[in-house]
């Protein structure tokens, strides 16, 4: 019932390729049959309507079909990446996960296990009263405690009813986030081909783009930065690529300029999505502009004290383990600082990441943008540290491209920063790092 409109698409396109996985091509009739098998599996294992089920996997054929089956079976789904982290066990408890289905990313074999948890959260009761499937997504939260956002899955699915074109898209964004699921559901609802790879390193992605003639790469600014610096794009034919979308974190102006220069035939588009609301339609002012118009049907936006607030039809019910982030009139307070120019917005950064130096606000991105322009800098993360003199000081971890005299490099970098910005923004402490400064989501780690 809940996936009827998907089933119609699958039936109409029965012989079209649906998934290419490990060099096998599976068509839409395979998907239809596999969803039926998955539903049988759920019933064989007494997975009842309304139960909270964790689905661990990646964008492999059976994971995709199990996901669709769980929606149809009216379950509350908590997606996890295949690799279980320590924090994930905490999430099982927060989400009151009752059953866990794990799908091996290499073999695509799956198994189910039970937990001791009892799902009795009020939001779950609401979903069960509505007789709808649910989706629980986690946001890292600023205090380090993950927050579980509970969605009515049918509201998120509604937008896929409208037909659009499906470009050949690499499912780059991860399985446990709406960005990744959004790509998947968009592809399926428009009878496109799901193209996923386990390995998300720049070289592998370039190879994948060449091999599968990928048209759309949805990614993050940090990944783009790594791609540019690695120069691996020179080795592959990426001419099939038409569009690169980026979101999940603010884009440094310097990265966008460089990316535009290298990929001059590719269109760049900013996306704006939130775990609590879903993905909003967005339109950049121009290709190389950070000004963006976001919204679309079902979304109302307003800016209150420089912070973006959004009212959305597809908004979550609330957090499992945190107070409501909604205003009395139903707007979600995003915590994103924005600048406004008519109907266009520029996203400056998270309120929680702003460094307050003696009462002056410093946006980490702004400082990072300057440092990225400096010679031999590969990547940088700017963060605040408490200091008795000014409340906080600006600190920077810098990844460099070659061995160099650290003391001299730091001196020169500080001088460079002092010429480019006000003195309170200049990093007081600079450390030189080797390795990577991003997490497996290709987002910067600012909590150290």
């Amino acid at each position: 019932m809940h996936i009827d409109f998907f089933n119609n698409v699958f039936e109409e396109n029965a012989s079209s390729p649906a998934i290419i996985w490990q060099d096998h091509t599976l068509d839409y009739s395979w998907i239809r049959n596999e969803i039926k098998r998955s539903l049988q599996f759920l019933s064989d294992n007494q997975v009842k309507n309304g139960e909270v089920v964790a689905l661990r996997g990646d964008f492999t054929p059976t994971t995709i079909c199990l996901l669709m089956a769980l929606i149809e079976n009216q379950n509350i789904i908590v997606p996890f990446n295949y690799e279980i982290k320590e924090s994930d066990t905490k999430k099982f408890v927060i989400a009151q996960v009752e059953k866990i289905i794990s799908v091996d990313v290499t073999t695509d074999q799956y198994s189910i296990s039970k937990t001791e948890n009892i799902a009795d959260h009020n939001y779950y009761k609401t979903l069960n009263d509505r007789k709808v499937p649910g989706l629980v997504l986690f946001t890292s939260g600023t205090s380090g405690q993950p927050k579980g956002a509970v969605h009515d899955f049918t509201k998120l699915l509604n937008k896929f009813r409208a037909k659009r074109t499906a470009l050949r898209t690499v499912n780059f964004l991860l399985f446990d986030h709406w960005g990744g699921l959004n790509t998947l559901l968009h592809t399926l609802s428009n009878a496109g081909v799901v193209l996923a790879t386990k390995d998300r390193k720049p070289e592998e992605i370039c190879k994948f783009i060449e091999k599968h003639k990928i048209e759309l790469l949805p990614t993050s600014p940090t990944f783009l930065n790594l791609l540019i610096l690695s120069e691996v794009y020179k080795k592959y034919d990426l001419s099939s690529l038409k569009l690169i979308t980026y979101g999940t974190e603010p884009m440094p102006g310097s990265t966008l300029t460089k990316a535009k220069a290298i990929f001059s035939n590719i269109q760049f588009q900013q996306t704006y999505g939130l775990i609590e609301l879903g993905v909003l339609r967005s339109k950049s002012k121009s290709d190389d502009s950070l000004w963006v118009k976001v919204g679309g049907e079902g979304f109302e936006l307003r800016v209150v004290e420089n912070i973006l607030q959004i009212k959305a039809d597809s908004a979550m019910l609330g957090y499992l383990n945190a107070p409501s982030p909604f205003t009395e009139d139903g707007y979600f307070i995003t915590g994103d600082f924005v600048e406004q120019d008519g109907e266009y917005l520029k996203i400056l950064g998270r309120k929680s990441e702003i460094i307050n130096v003696g009462g002056e606000k410093v946006y980490p991105q702004e400082v990072e943008n300057v440092i990225l322009e400096f010679e031999n800098v590969v990547d940088v993360t700017v963060y605040g540290e408490k200091h008795p003199l000014t409340g906080n000081i600006v600190c920077a971890k810098v990844l460099v491209s070659k061995e160099l005299d650290k003391a001299q490099f730091i001196r020169e970098l500080k001088s460079f920063c002092k010429q480019k910005m006000q003195s309170f923004k200049v990093p007081v402490k600079i450390s030189i790092e080797e390795g990577t400064l991003h997490n497996d989501r290709f987002k910067k780690r600012r909590q150290l």
């Binding site: 008795p388 003199l389 000014t390 001196r411 500080k414 001088s415 003195s423 200049v426 007081v428 402490k429």
Partner: protein
């Protein structure tokens, strides 16, 4: 020890001076922060952090110079090169 501290302070002043139009003078009576001083608060923060880093290189130990105690002292240790050198030497002796 005080000689080492002075040397470190002067080295740090050299660094801060690179970006200053009027340099901070390198003598014990030179005013650092307060009346007639050249440094603003960010200048002082940079100077102190630089001293902390250089001291760590010299002595192998991290010493926090600007802490609650320094802030709450009746007479600021950051007034002149002399008061700062005295304060740091005292902190090292206490370690």
């Amino acid at each position: 020890m005080r000689d080492v501290v002075l040397k470190v302070i002067y080295e740090a002043i050299d660094e801060v001076n690179i970006d200053l139009e009027t340099p901070v003078l390198k003598n014990e009576d030179s005013s650092l922060f307060g009346e007639n001083s050249i440094l603003d608060s960010m200048g002082l923060v940079h100077l102190i952090t630089s001293i902390e880093q250089k001291l760590e290189e010299e002595t192998g130990n991290y010493l926090s110079i600007a802490d609650e105690r320094a802030m709450s002292m009746e007479s600021s240790p950051f007034k002149t090169v002399k008061t700062l050198a005295d304060y740091i030497t005292k902190l090292i002796d206490e370690q």
